[in-house]
């Protein structure tokens, strides 16, 4: 499989420049740059990245342009995005299943 993508653009990951192919998700862009972890868990601070790859597991949460809890496997990387490692889970702002 070969790709002939449009011109690459850049985003930043924790301040460092990362090249992105148009259409790539944040997760795909980070993988291409050799980054496999961009979150630490709230409890034990373990590193995490992609697990399910299809938006179900929420392991790939990342902060994009100041918004926490974005699923890197779903969100498209846009030119100039400021992507940052997310520490903790930031539950507060959403309700899911039987939340507190």
């Amino acid at each position: 499989m070969r790709a002939e993508p449009g011109p690459a653009y850049t985003v930043t990951f924790d301040g460092a420049q990362v090249a992105v192919l148009p259409g790539q998700t944040v997760a795909a862009a980070l993988w291409s740059a050799g980054v496999t972890a961009w979150r630490t868990t709230r409890g034990t601070g373990e590193p995490r990245g992609v697990f399910c790859g299809i938006g179900v597991c929420f392991d790939c949460l990342v902060t994009v342009n100041g918004r926490p809890n974005q699923r890197a496997c779903l969100v498209r990387a846009e030119p100039g995005d400021d992507i940052r490692t997310q520490h903790g889970t930031g539950h507060e702002h959403v309700v899911g299943g039987e939340e507190r």
Binding site: M1, R2, A3, E4, P5, G6, L21, P22, G23, Q24, T25, A27, A28, W31, S32, T36, A37, T41, R42, G43, T44, E46, P47, R48, G49, V50, F51, C52, G53, I54, G55, V56, C57, F58, D59, L61, R67, N69, Q70, C73, L74, V75, R76, E78, T89, H91, H93, V94, V95, G96, G97, E98, E99
Partner: protein, 479 residues
């Protein structure tokens, strides 16, 4: 509440409207069948493009020159894709991409349904579609049973590796081990190898006999279940080591995956002592089968059968106006999803128009459905996850990835606090209460508790921002 511009795909015309949720093989087949038979269809999917898991497409902008290199059944896909484009052009299908449905609400007074979705880059913008009937074609997600080290970056689900490859044209790392059980492991291993990864081993817990029989079946029915036959040959050509009746018992690494420990299994699925050996790798793609997405059906009150949505011969659920097709109704691969979707679309279009459908109209699809179901049942038996997996789950192994709940907490809830069902364990330990709402740890928690996995009765299929919920609350049914 505020309505999005998408409201009323029926557009106020007399044409009955059908909302199809999920644009994988099942949803696409349903949407096309219903549209050509006179329904106005709104096809809604969380993805940026139609295709679902099987026909997952790279983003157009990526300009993949030969995406079919990663796909079998490319011609079927072209037919679906072109059919969809034609129906959209004719105004019979509206395709809402990037729409995450969190709830389908049944309207009591007026009959019909409201499909509530979130869209936008952060999936926080609400959108509502009104429809006279609904087809649930939400597919399945992958089940992974825990083992020490499975939370290390570099350990991903087998389907996830495939999805990242098909959708983003990316690989993680250089050396991969593919492990677990089930027919999905074959296309995943072959896909990774074709994309340039070194596949160090394919570790399958089922016995070689089962796998061999399965490989033969592939040779006879290449289009069944997974993109099959060519893959076995391809793996052999690439000299991928197939280790049947083996399991990955530990993932090792400091902050990221560096190696896996693989052990032989005896006939009962227990690790053979002393058989462990280490394989260096930076990617482990692991899966133990698929589980249907049933949340939307459950909220609607549809009956389940085991872990899948129950459907009759016409693919109707027991809730009037709700059809279900594809892997939401039981895992059986793309061919089965296509057949079920087609039948659901034909039936829904007829009934929406006030006609009694004639099953002869979908005879071929019904035949294919019957054959494929039989085939997938036999596969299920060959690829059951190994018994005794829990013996390798050490006390400090994380079971609930969202809430960081270790196996020791679950064992304590069962052993010392006397919990006998997954629900009580969940309340005592918080396992299953995090972001994924127990989708990932559900089977493991049930297994460690010693009970059958049960539907989890999630109120919503997706986490919902409070603001959206407050506004939608006005017309949500009382629980």
């Amino acid at each position: 509440m505020s309505r999005s511009p998408h409201e009323g795909a029926d557009g106020g015309t007399a044409c009955p409207s059908l909302a199809v949720i999920g644009a994988g093989p099942a949803g696409l087949a349903a949407a096309l069948a219903a549209a050509v038979r006179g329904s106005r269809v709104t096809l809604i999917d969380a993805g940026a493009q139609a295709g679902g898991q099987f026909y997952r497409q790279p983003a157009e902008e990526l300009g993949a020159r030969r995406p079919q290199a990663l796909h079998h059944q490319w011609r079927t896909w072209e037919r679906l894709r072109d059919g969809l484009a034609a129906q959209i052009a004719a105004g019979r299908v509206t395709h809402l991409t990037d729409h995450h449905v969190w709830c389908v609400e049944r309207l009591e007074e007026t009959s019909g349904f409201l499909v509530h979705a979130l869209h936008g880059p952060a999936q926080e913008e609400p959108s509502v579609v009104r429809a006279d009937a609904v087809v649930l074609a939400t597919g399945a997600y992958e089940k992974v049973l825990p083992f020490p080290g499975w939370t290390l970056p570099g350990v991903i689900t087998a389907g996830g590796a495939q999805a990242m490859l098909k959708g983003g044209l990316v690989l993680q790392g250089r050396t991969a081990v593919v492990a677990g059980t089930g027919p999905l492991l074959l296309p995943v291993a072959a896909g990774l190898a074709a994309a340039g990864a070194e596949v160090a081993a394919l570790v399958e817990s089922a016995g070689a006999q089962g796998v061999a029989r399965h490989a033969r079946t592939f040779a006879v029915h290449p289009d069944k279940l997974v993109e099959g036959a060519g893959y076995v040959a391809e793996l052999m050509r690439r000299r991928v080591r197939l280790k049947a009746r083996h399991a990955v018992v530990e993932a090792q690494g400091d902050g990221a995956l560096e190696a896996v420990s693989v052990a032989a299994l005896d006939r009962d699925g227990r690790v053979v002592p002393g058989s462990e050996h280490v394989i260096a790798c930076d990617t482990l793609a692991v899966g133990h089968g698929l589980l249907p997405h049933t949340d939307l059906a459950e909220t609607l009150g549809c009956r389940l059968e085991g872990t899948a949505v129950a459907a009759d011969d016409e693919q109707r659920t027991d809730v009037h106006g709700v059809w279900a097709a594809g892997e939401a109704t039981g895992v059986g691969g793309a061919a089965l999803s296509l057949a079920e979707g087609h039948i659901a679309g034909c039936s829904a279009a007829a009934r929406l128009a006030g006609r009694e459908p004639d099953p002869r109209a979908w005879e071929a699809a019904a035949k294919s459905r019957a054959k494929t179901r039989k085939f997938s049942t036999s596969l299920d038996a060959a690829f059951a996850p190994r018994a005794h997996w829990a013996e390798q789950v050490t006390d400090d192994t994380v079971v609930c990835r969202c809430e960081d709940v270790p196996a020791s907490a679950i064992r304590e809830a069962v052993g010392e606090l006397g919990a006998t069902d997954a629900r009580t364990v969940k309340l005592l330990t918080r396992a299953g209460m995090g972001w994924c709402q127990g989708r990932m740890c559900g089977p493991a928690v049930a297994g460690l508790t010693g009970c059958e996995p049960v539907p989890s009765r999630r109120p919503f299929a997706r986490p919902v921002p409070l603001g959206v919920l407050a506004r939608a609350g006005e017309d949500l049914p009382d629980e």
